[in-house]
Symmetry: C2
Subunit: 154 residues, 2 copies
DNA sequence: TCCAATGGTGAGACTCGATCTCAGAAGGAG
DNA sequence: CTCCTTCTGAGATCGAGTCTCACCATTGGA
């Protein structure tokens, strides 16, 4: 168990470190979920993780996975996104404000910073009298690799 | 029934017209749902409409309401938005591309046009190689009226 | 070393929004 | 009116997410 634990900590390094820093216990199940999240490439649903867990860490309960995801989300280690179809998904990400560009081809997501959005929001507030307190921008499209694969011109 | 039908058509005029134009039947239940949507001020959940319907048009099934909302959404007469809490809601809107600013005080929503967002998205695409095909911007905050009510300085 | 307090866990029941199914009821072209 | 198609209501069903509860693990104090 200790070897597996060490391997997980290595794979999910920053997740584990952030958990520790926030004063949460580094339990086996949490490390396992952190590992599954770290191994995921792109967005995933809670159900995806449940399936992964059943395969790679049988014995972990569904509730524990939801709890771990909630915890990660509360620490901004993971973010909830809403797919165009209305499904909820999660994306592992850095704990700073940014947005996600989600590739509809491969499902990977790309962190995107502000690029002037704040200015646009300020403009909206100024013109409409609306006091913006929160916002969410989700971008959908094709990443460079998927464009190439589908023969788009560069 | 015909009088009620005429009244509904008047209240939910553009919804009904759009349905007709798209070649869908103007049935009683659909007109009723269209009327409920038109009477709503701000965002609402499917459950809200179900409650409204039970009161004002008993006899309309739950499934019918969901089907009508799906239909309206497919015609861009109504848009699905995802509230910060993760709930799904709908907003009646004009069938042109725009975004919603949702007031967390009163729940009303304000249609917002582009205000430079397209430029931001283009910039994102240019810098990252991502080919943006779709996006969703949701803005949360306080409308002018709610700010005044809560004593914010102008 | 023991003990109690705190925090975490698995299992399974439960909630509730949303979808599906199916028999029957309307719309509407002719 | 007749017939075909589309639509509808009722209720079953699904499924994501939450809750409860008894039990386990870790920690820090004595």
């Amino acid at each position: 168990m200790t070897a597996e634990r060490r391997a997980t900590i290595q794979a999910a390094g920053h997740l584990v470190e952030a958990l520790d820093r926030a004063g949460h216990r580094l339990t086996g199940p949490r490390l396992a979920v952190a590992g599954l999240v770290a191994d995921r490439d792109g967005h995933f649903t809670a159900a995806d993780l449940v399936v992964d867990a059943r395969r790679r860490h049988p014995g972990i309960g569904r509730a524990t996975i939801f709890r771990a995801l909630d915890l990660f989300a509360s620490l901004d280690l993971v973010e909830r996104v809403d797919l165009p179809g209305g499904d909820h998904a999660y994306v592992a990400c850095e704990p700073v404000h940014h947005h996600h560009a989600i590739c509809t081809g491969c499902g990977r997501s790309l962190d995107v910073d502000d690029f002037g959005l704040t200015r646009v929001l300020n403009e909206i507030g100024r013109r409409s009298g609306f006091r913006v307190t929160d916002h969410r921008l989700e971008i959908f499209g094709l990443c460079a690799a998927c464009q190439a694969a589908q023969g788009y011109p560069a």
